[in-house]
Amino acid sequence: MDALEAFRRDTRAWLDANCPAEMRVPVRGDEDICWGGRNWVFKSEAQKVWMERMAARGWTVPAWPKAYGGGGLSHEEVKVLKEEMARIKARSPLESFGIWMLGPALLAFGSEEQKKEHLPRIARGEIRWCQGYSEPNAGSDLASLQTRADDAGDHFAVTGSKIWTSYADKADMIFCLVRTDFSAPKHLGISFILFDMTWPGVSTKPILLISGKSPFCETFFDDVKVPKANLVGTLNRGWDIAKYLLTHEREMIGGGGGGLLGGRSPGQLAASEIGTDEAGRLADPFLRADAARAEVDALAFASTMARYKDEAASGGKGVGDKSSVLKYYGTELNKRRYELMMRAAGSSGLEWEGARTNDGELPRGWLRTKANSIEGGTSEVMLDIVAKRLLQLPSA
């Protein structure tokens, strides 16, 4: 037996022994996800046990080095772990912006002290992070951001506001883009800093969305004092970190299309709602044709995500600018999925409140997907990046 097969056998045995039965049921929605953090209230004992057991092995962040709370697994071992978790339908033990975004950025740009301080606490689900990027006048043109961090001797004085800060009202800390040089060209006056959401001068205000939910906030900073040691990387070169982190965010958002509604595809969902004919074909031929094309695209897209990860691993690099391909295609595909599911649902997709529909889970989810092609860089910005960086087409 080769080493990878031995790892698979051991992993399977460990998961069988340690993953609680309640954690082997697909997540139904955001409320089933474990986000961690100082104020986190576990939804069940099983959720707590599962996160702690996985964190103790470093498997909440299996690819990170062991020295920072990770599992130290190779690319191939991480794939085996994911396959074995999928085999028993095990939920992810912990999700967070720390895992998806800040962690990779700190691993690439952070000081040793910063890595030692922050990464293990992300891995153990102790600190929940939010992302201070967009501002009211800096959306697609993110580099024009105006939140200022003035040099005040031993600290920065941070003043300004952010918008679309996901879960800012629930987060413990923020990784934030600030302007530290107003005279430099816009990309060369930005710095990347970390601070605590409980510090004086920080306030948040949830934004009510068309889904009736408030996953995003406005976030305000009024003379927040941030120690200089909380600067990541080089002063005024935060844009490099910002872009690197965005490639991870975009890869993550692009791959986020499969989770809800038990992981079933629109065609499969429609078959259970509408029924099939004798040959097994969905009884609505127009919906079926569109769902079949979406199924082909979804399967081809899943292969593309796998291929990019494998190429990146065998080349020793990240996915890089190709994350824009995943972000663009994955989010447009997810919007198509929800349009198809709404068509399949008919009037049962029109209820907004009530236990029967889990408070309109489907229509609220449908509305939520409309943000997918905006957040983390719009589809149009993604196409610009593909055109300029991957195809080398000239600027206007």
Binding site: S265, A289, S303, V386, A387, L393
Partner: protein, 378 residues
């Protein structure tokens, strides 16, 4: 791992170098303008045999290279970029798959060395109507003495006019539409009662319409099991479909690359047209689609190598996606080239013509999307 291994990358490099030197698009123009009846260059085919390509799917213990479907697909992709015409798909992929998996010892001995040597071309005759429908096979194979008599018609038999043998699907039982009752036979194209008409096709290659009027074959000519040929035919078609998908991926990549080059050269309104965002976004979207096609093709080829009996979903995803992406790539290529894209002077139209043939053959994008939906429960 959804990446090529070192051996496969070396084969890709060798294939790219070979077709670009020996069989560029200009070679297809020579076949077209010279009205070459075979629809391919026999000298080139012998050179491909010398490269070992003819044995890419023939196991090593039967005289081949045993390189597998990923290797075969890599070659198809490179031939797709240069529009290289050859019997690779019909003979080295489909016939080699049928014979190496299900041939009798005598059949293997007669045909596999000849395939590997580049001395035999073997076509596969399946469809009878204008649309792809293997289970719709109606041609009859009535028992007659020690063998069978074949009667019926076959349409669009790729390389059928140039073949040394033809693998024919016919009914030994059941009726058109039923899955059981289909058998496969190796037929001599010169057999009595078999009339062949060469079709001149828009991709400048050739195919045949075959009329069988009581063509006598013996039981030694049966490939695989009598009445149970559809499962083998599915694997043979899997090879053909995956090969076409790989070729279409290469076709799309090349017409797209030529279009991006043109966007960087052509000037209008005082600037390079590639600077216009209206065109940039269309090109960027097309790039994403081409990327998906490439991934689907590699997944399908790997699935065939892992277990050809279980690869039909992956193959249908690849054939459907590559067919629709190559179509989009050809349409966008002509549109973005503007008027010159409509002329025979440049090659873009040749990519569109081959795309139309390759995307239709053995099931178009819709046929395979239907199969994907059925496999996925709807």
């Amino acid at each position: 791992m959804l990446v090529l291994n070192d051996d496969q990358t070396m084969l890709q490099d060798a294939a790219k170098g070979f077709v670009q030197e020996k069989a560029p698009v200009a070679a297809l123009r020579k076949i077209r303008d010279g009205k070459v009846a075979d629809g391919f260059d026999r000298d080139l085919w012998r050179q491909m045999a010398e490269m070992g390509w003819t044995g890419v799917l023939v196991p090593e213990d039967q005289g081949g290279l045993g390189f597998g479907f990923v290797g075969a697909g890599v070659i198809c992709e490179e031939m797709g970029r240069t529009l290289t015409a050859s019997p690779f798909l019909s003979t080295a992929m489909m016939a080699a798959t049928a014979l190496s998996r299900a041939g009798t010892p005598a059949q293997k001995q007669r045909w596999l060395p000849a395939i590997v040597a580049g001395e035999a071309v073997i076509a596969t005759a399946i469809d009878e109507g204008r649309r792809h429908d293997p289970a719709g096979t109606a041609m009859t194979a009535e028992r007659s003495g020690n063998g069978f008599k074949l009667s019926g018609r076959k349409t669009y038999v790729v390389d059928g006019h140039a073949a040394d043998a033809i693998l024919v699907a016919a009914r030994t039982g059941g009726t058109a539409g039923e899955k059981g009752g289909i058998s496969l036979f190796l037929v001599d194209p010169r057999a009595g009662g078999l009339a062949s008409e060469r079709l001149s096709t828009l991709d400048s290659r050739s195919a045949a319409e075959l009329a069988f009027d009581g063509v006598q074959v013996t039981s030694d000519d049966v490939v695989g099991e009598v009445d149970d040929g559809l499962a083998l035919l599915e694997i043979v078609l899997g090879a053909g479909r995956a090969g076409l998908a790989a070729e279409l991926s290469g076709n799309a990549q090349e017409s797209f690359a030529r279009t991006v080059d043109y966007l960087k050269e052509r000037k209008q309104f005082g600037r390079t047209i590639g600077a216009f965002q209206a065109l940039q976004h269309r090109a960027a979207h097309l790039f994403c689609e081409v990327e998906l096609a490439r991934s689907a093709v590699l997944s399908a080829l790997q699935a065939l190598d892992a277990d050809a009996d279980k690869a039909s979903l992956a193959v249908s995803v690849a054939k459907s996606k590559a067919s629709s992406v190559a179509r989009l790539a050809a349409q966008e290529a002509v549109q973005m080239h503007g008027g010159i894209g409509m002329t025979d002077a440049i090659d873009i139209g040749l990519f569109m013509k081959r795309m139309q043939v390759a995307s239709s053959l053995y099931g178009d994008a819709d046929f395979h999307a239907d199969r994907v939906a059925l496999a996925r429960g709807f």
